[in-house]
């Protein structure tokens, strides 16, 4: 699928919802729980969470690929885990910003 920054997607097989912060151009093989994500407004096809994609997602955390060209913000947690072309995305380190507001 082609990803656009700002677009919102959801898992087909669990409750996970994400917002795209950054994405590489072109076709992106993005999955959650082993299945491709769908637009947040679409009907979730349903199905089983793949056994090796079951580490879960956490609300408010960001997930990135190795070269950080893909960055997703989890807006709703779920049991499946996010992966790009089969490789699990990792948690982005939170920058400790002093609370300024």
């Amino acid at each position: 699928m082609e990803l656009k920054a700002g677009s919102r997607l959801k898992s087909a097989v669990c409750d996970t919802q994400v917002m795209v912060i950054a994405a590489p151009a072109g076709d992106v093989d993005l999955t959650c729980g082993g299945a491709p994500l769908v637009d947040v407004t679409a009907d979730a096809p349903g199905g089983e969470i793949a056994a090796d994609h079951k580490n879960g997602t956490q609300i408010g955390k960001r997930y990135v690929n190795e070269d950080a060209t893909l960055e997703l913000l989890c807006t709703k947690p779920g049991e499946g885990s996010l992966a790009l072309a089969g490789t699990a995305l990792t948690l982005k380190e939170a920058k400790a910003l002093p609370s300024s507001d």
């Binding site: 955390k61 807006t75 709703k76 910003l97 002093p98 609370s99 507001d101």
Partner: protein, 500 residues
Amino acid sequence: MNLMMLLEMASGAMGDRVAVQCDDDRFSHAELYAGAGRIAAFARGTAAEHLAVLDTSSPAVPLALFGSGWAGKPFVPLNYRLTGDELDALIERITPAILVADAERARQLSGRDGLEVVTREDFLAIARGDETPPDPDWQMEPEEIAILLFTSGTTGAPKAAVLRHRHMVSYILGSVEFMAAAEDDAALVSVPPYHVAGMAAVLSSIYAGRRIVQLPNFSADRWLDVARSAGVTNAFVVPTMLQRIVAELEQKGGEPPSTLRALAYGGGKMPLPVIDRAMNLFPPTVDFTNAYGLTETSSTIAVLGPDDHRVAAFNDDPAVKRRLGSAGKPLPGVEVEIRDEDGKPVPAGEPGEIWVRGEQVSGEYLGRGSLLVEGGWFPTHDGGFLDEEGYLYVQGRIDDVIVRGGENLSPGEIEDVLHDHPAVADCAVVGVPDEEWGEAVVAAVVPTGDASVEDLQAWVKQHLRSSRVPERIEFWDELPYNETGKLLRRKVREALGGAA
């Protein structure tokens, strides 16, 4: 992208945590979410195209902010000190609109065409009603306008700064960690809702999960009282407020609130003596943060963090010590450049105009389009420089806008009013450094005959507002002009005690 996403996440993960409290009134995140939904339903049932609030801080403000995002109508917080012609002009610009106001003002303003006036009490009652809130059906177009904030330029009527959903959301996501606050954290918000810092404080506190404690009318002793009684851990103030809080503590000999861990400030230049005294008065464990930003940049673009404050304050090396007066370093995702008059970047150490670029930068005014130039760069009209280490120093406006108490004042607007007075042949209004206000309004007047300072001050107060009244007026024989007839404000400012 919509502001509501931030509240939806907060409500989902920490629904029962108190989101906002004002005196005895409280809303949890879940209640704020449901309330926003009911406000949206109400707003959608009217012909309003804007949702405006003309009131001091109360839970109506976050309800209106999020409710307007849900309904898809821009939120317009108006300066509650506005009266008469000034207010009428702004109302006209946003009609048809819903206007939330206190009971007295609601009475004065009701009956106008296209204006649905709701008292604060009724507004809160709608939010707390029985109806099921709508489904999460807010529109997700990032370009939709989230907030309109009126801000003054050098001349004329205020401009409406446009902040779209994508600006505010990217600012929050870029500077706040979700649920970073501990359960008993509480942020004291005493900046008014019509100031971008007031908007930023609401959004970041909710996303971080930090209880907002609203203080509608600031005074130093009330601030200290509320900070102590509400167990406040964080606070944001403009420099004038910190100066008063420090003065209050020094005069009364009291201890700073024991729960306070972090004090952030911004909105104008912090006088060095004030931050110095504050850092010596508060325990060394208190984190001080300077947040520099503009309405047009969705608030903060650069931050001088707590450790930078400590290193600078307790250091002998002058190059390090002076950093206490800096605005710190740009936020991640924000780029800052210093450019000369021709728009060319200058090397470190050299002064020029501060330009900024980033997702959170809007630089757009309603009806006037975008001020962003090639590459998405925005000229802030603030002068300054970057030192060798990348610390940003802000030196004051390069245009002639006066920044007093965190508020932008238009000298042209005050001059126009003075010109209308029969005793004024010519005048110039400038800002001069002031420890209490950052800048004070001062005027040079060429009188026609007899004129008194008191008369002219009363005149300005009558036609504008007390904050616009020149503190000092000097009577001159003439004002300095160049050959092309341009008023040389710099010379006036210098002569009246300001910077060149």
